[in-house]
Symmetry: C2
Subunit: 462 residues, 2 copies
C-alpha cells in the first residue's frame, strides 16, 4: 500500500494531548506557559466531550487530580521537579489497583470495589509525578482482545467509532488515541497492550516478563502477563516505562547507529494474512531499516516451525491460570459474568494438569530456542495484528481463510507472551483509513535496547 | 514399647557388610587387610546367596566391578585415595541411568534399555571412588511405595521375607539391610528413600529439593523428587550425600552440643496411628534429646492444621507431573504396565490444569509458613511410617481406622516432599520384631546440620 495523502484523520475532534509529546509538555510547564493544573483541566475537558462517544474512562476524579496537580505545581515552583512525568495526567486500566478510585476489572463482581492501596506500579508512577486522572475500560477481567465486553459496555475506536479499539486495554487506547491523556497504563497477557495500540494507531510496549511489578494487578494468567504502556510516540513510552519499572528499564540504552538485524516473520500459521495489511507493515519495516527495498530483511520462516508448540503451550498455560483465578466465581456467581467471558472461562476449565506441566516444559524449551535465535538477530518483525479494527461485536473475519476475530487479533502477539519477550507495536500506516502496526520483538531483557532502536529508527507514517 | 532383649534379628544370614561402617572398611583397606577387590568379592558372594531370597538386585556386573576395584586398588597403592568412598561397592536404584548397565525403571517398556551415559549423580559417585556393583529393584516407574510391583517382581524384607521392603527404592533397602552392599542410592518423590529405610531398619536421607542433580534420573514428579541415600548409619549417609551432591551438602557442619528444639508432629490427620509404633518412635525422640521424659518435645499440633492443604497440593502436583511423563505410554502401550501402576496413572490424568496452578500457589504459601516455623524449631519429629512392614501385596491396613496401605506408608513422608525439605529416617526400635523409624525434618537447605544433629544425638536401638 502506498501512503495515502492526506493521511486519514480521527473520526472525532481530538483532545488537547493529541500530537503533543511529554517533552513538549514539560518544556511548556518549565517555561510557565502550562501548568499541571492546566493539563488536568485540558484532560477533563476532553474526557467530558469525548468519553460519551468513546467510553474510554469508567471512572474519573477531576477534583482529586486538580488537588494533585496544584501540589505538583507548587513543588515545581520551588524548583523540585520529579522528572519527565511531573504533572502529567495519565490513565490507568481498571484492572490495576488504585487506592483513591474504584477498580472493577470491568466486571459486575467488582462494581464499587475499592482497593486498600495502589498497585506498586501505580505508586511508582505517582512517585514520579504522574497524576492519575481516571480508570479506563478493560475487557471484562481482561479476558478478551476486543474491548467490547464489560460491565461498562464497549470502548469505541477514535478512528471509526463503529469499530473496536481492541483490548483488553481498550479504554487506555481510546483515551490516548483521542488525546484525552498523553499516555496510559495497560496490561498485556496475550496482546492486551499491543493489540489496542495497533488498532488505534499508538505505540504500545510490553516489557520482558517480570520487569514491572505485578503486585496489585488483577491476575489473568500471571506467568505470562505484564503491565505496559500505550503512548503516542516512542520517547513517551520510554519515559513511562522507566517510571513504571522503578528504573529497571533504563531509558537511555544506546542502540548504536547501525540498522538492526531484522528477521521478518510470516503471519502463517500464527494468523491469517491480509495482503494489504502485511504489505503496509512490511514497507514500514523496510523504512525502519532505512533501505530502499526489503533485501535487508532476514527470512523468518524458521520461526513458523514453532508456531504450533508456541500456541499450544500458551493456550494450556493461559487457560489453566485464568480458571484458577476464577473457579469460585464461575461456580458461585456465573450470572454476573458477560456471557462470552463466562463461556471462555468454562472452556478453560478442562485443560488437564499434565497438559499444563507439558506446556511449562515446552515453554522452557522454546525460550532456549529463541535465546539462541536472538544471538543472530536483533529483532523479529511482523504485523502486530493481521487485520484492521473489526466492527463492535464482530466475531469472525470475512473473506478467504475466514477465522475467528479473537484468534486473529491475538495470533501474532501472544507467542511473545509465552516466551516473556519484550515487544513493541509501532504505527506503520493505514489501510482503508484505519491504522496498522509493525511489531518488533527482541531478546529477553533487551527492553531498553528495543525502545532505543525504535526511538532511533521508527518514523511516523507520512 | 520397651526395647526387646535380645534385639530381633534378620530373617536371613546377613552378608559381609552388615554392621560394618565405611570408616572401618576404609581403615582396613588403608591397613591392607582388605582391598576394593575383596569388597567386591564379598558383595558378589552376598548377592549370589541372598538375592534369590530378597530380589534386591535386578542386574549385577561383577566382572566390571572387579575391574574397577583393581584400578582403584592400584591407585591406592600409589597413594592416591579419592576419599571415603574409594573402593566401596554401592548399589544404584534402577531408575537412575548407568552407562554400563541396563536401566529399566522396573518396567517392561524399558527392558534392555541401556542409557548412553551415567546420571550426573552416578558419575559423581564413581568419581569419588565408588564401585557400582549393580542396579536395584524399583517399584515400577517408582510409582508406588510398596516395592512389590515391577517387571522384575517384588523385593522382600530381610527382617521377614513375607513382608514388603517398602518402596519405591525397594531393592536398595533390601541390599543394604541384608549386608550385600554397605550403602545404596535411592530416589524419593513421596517417601521412596525413607519408607523402605524405615521398614528395613536403615538410615535414609532425602535432601533439600534440588541439592542433588536430577539429570539422568527417570522422572516421576520432578518438582518434588530427589536422589538420596540408604545406609546403615548416619556417618555413612553423610559421606554418601557429600559425594552425591558434589560437595553441595557438606559433611562437617557442626551441630553444636545442645539438644535441638524438637517439635513432635501427631500422625493424625496425615496418617493412621498405631499406638505401639508411635510410642516406640516417641521414646526414640526422647532419647535423641537426651531427656528422661517427653517434656522437651514441643507440641506440633499447629502442623496438622496444614495437613489437608499439604496433601491436596502434593496430590495435584504429583499426579499431573507423573501423567505428563507417561501420557503416550499409557495411550500406546498400556498392556506393558503393571495393572496397579496403570490404574494409578490413569487416575492421575483427570487432575485439571487450574488445580495444578492452585497447588503450585499453595506450595509457595506453605513453604513460607514452614520457613517461619523453622525459626522457632530445629526439627520436626514424627514416625517415618505409621506401621511396620505389611505383607507383600497387602493393600489395606486392618484394625480400627482401617486405611489403604499406600496412603498409610506415604502419609507421614510426602508432606516434606511438597515443601522440598530435608528429612532423615532413623532406626527407632522394633515392634513385633519389625523395625520402626523416627523421622526428623529440618529447614530448607539445612541438610548438613540435620545430618550432623543425627550423627551427634541418634543412638542405635539397644
Amino acid at each position: 500500500m502506498n501512503p495515502q495523502h492526506p493521511l486519514p484523520t480521527l473520526a472525532v475532534e481530538p483532545g488537547f494531548f493529541a500530537g503533543r509529546t511529554l517533552a513538549e509538555l514539560q518544556d511548556a510547564m518549565h517555561r510557565g506557559t502550562l501548568s499541571a493544573e492546566a493539563l488536568v483541566r485540558h484532560s477533563a475537558a476532553a474526557i467530558e466531550r469525548l468519553n460519551p462517544l468513546l467510553n474510554a474512562f469508567v471512572h474519573v476524579d477531576i477534583d482529586a487530580a486538580l488537588a494533585a496537580a496544584r501540589a505538583l505545581d507548587a513543588q515545581r515552583a520551588q524548583g523540585r521537579v520529579r522528572g519527565p512525568l511531573h504533572g502529567i495526567p495519565v490513565a490507568i486500566k481498571d484492572n490495576v489497583d488504585t487506592a483513591d478510585m474504584p477498580t472493577t476489572m470491568g466486571a459486575a463482581h467488582f462494581l464499587g470495589h475499592r482497593p486498600a492501596a495502589d498497585a506498586e506500579c501505580v505508586a511508582l508512577l505517582r512517585a514520579a509525578g504522574a497524576i492519575v486522572i481516571g480508570k479506563t475500560l478493560t475487557h471484562e477481567f481482561a479476558y478478551g482482545p476486543t474491548g467490547d465486553r464489560s460491565v461498562q459496555g464497549a470502548a469505541r475506536n477514535p478512528w471509526r467509532t463503529t469499530q473496536i479499539t481492541g483490548g483488553s486495554s481498550a479504554g487506555s487506547a481510546a483515551a490516548v488515541a483521542s488525546g484525552m491523556v498523553p499516555v496510559a497504563l495497560g496490561t498485556d497477557t496475550g496482546g492486551s497492550v499491543r493489540v489496542p495500540s495497533a488498532l488505534c494507531g499508538l505505540v504500545g510496549f510490553k516489557p520482558t516478563h517480570g520487569r514491572v511489578s505485578a503486585q496489585g494487578l488483577f491476575p489473568l494468567s500471571p506467568s505470562i502477563e505484564d503491565a505496559g504502556v500505550l503512548a503516542q510516540n516512542v520517547a513517551d513510552a520510554q519515559v513511562f516505562m522507566q517510571a513504571l519499572s522503578g528504573g529497571g528499564i533504563g531509558a537511555s540504552a544506546g542502540a548504536g547507529s547501525a540498522a538492526p538485524r531484522m528477521m521478518w516473520v510470516p503471519n502463517a500459521p500464527f494468523a491469517i494474512d491480509d495482503p494489504a495489511v502485511t504489505a503496509c507493515v512490511r514497507a514500514a519495516a523496510v523504512r525502519f531499516l532505512g533501505g530502499a527495498d526489503d533485501a535487508g530483511l532476514l527470512d523468518g520462516a524458521e520461526v513458523t516451525r514453532h508456531a504450533r508448540a508456541l500456541q499450544g503451550a500458551l493456550g494450556a498455560i493461559q487457560r489453566s491460570e485464568a480458571y484458577a483465578v476464577h473457579a469460585e466465581r464461575v461456580e458461585d456467581e456465573p450470572e454476573k459474568f458477560d456471557p462470552e467471558v463466562l463461556e471462555r472461562l468454562r472452556a478453560s476449565r478442562p485443560v488437564q494438569g499434565w497438559e499444563y506441566v507439558r506446556a511449562i516444559d515446552t515453554r522452557a524449551r522454546l525460550r532456549a530456542v529463541f535465546a539462541q535465535l536472538f544471538e543472530r538477530v536483533d529483532v523479529l518483525a511482523l504485523p502486530t495484528v493481521a487485520i484492521t479494527a473489526p466492527a463492535l461485536q464482530q466475531r469472525s473475519v470475512a473473506g478467504p481463510g475466514s477465522a475467528g476475530v479473537r484468534e486473529t487479533l491475538l495470533g501474532l502477539t501472544n507467542p511473545w507472551n509465552l516466551l516473556g519477550l519484550p515487544a513493541i507495536a509501532l504505527p506503520a500506516g493505514f489501510v482503508d483509513g484505519m491504522p496498522v502496526s509493525l511489531q518488533l520483538v527482541a531478546a529477553e531483557g533487551s527492553d531498553a535496547r528495543l525502545l532505543a532502536l525504535a526511538a532511533q529508527h521508527w518514523q511516523r507514517p507520512a
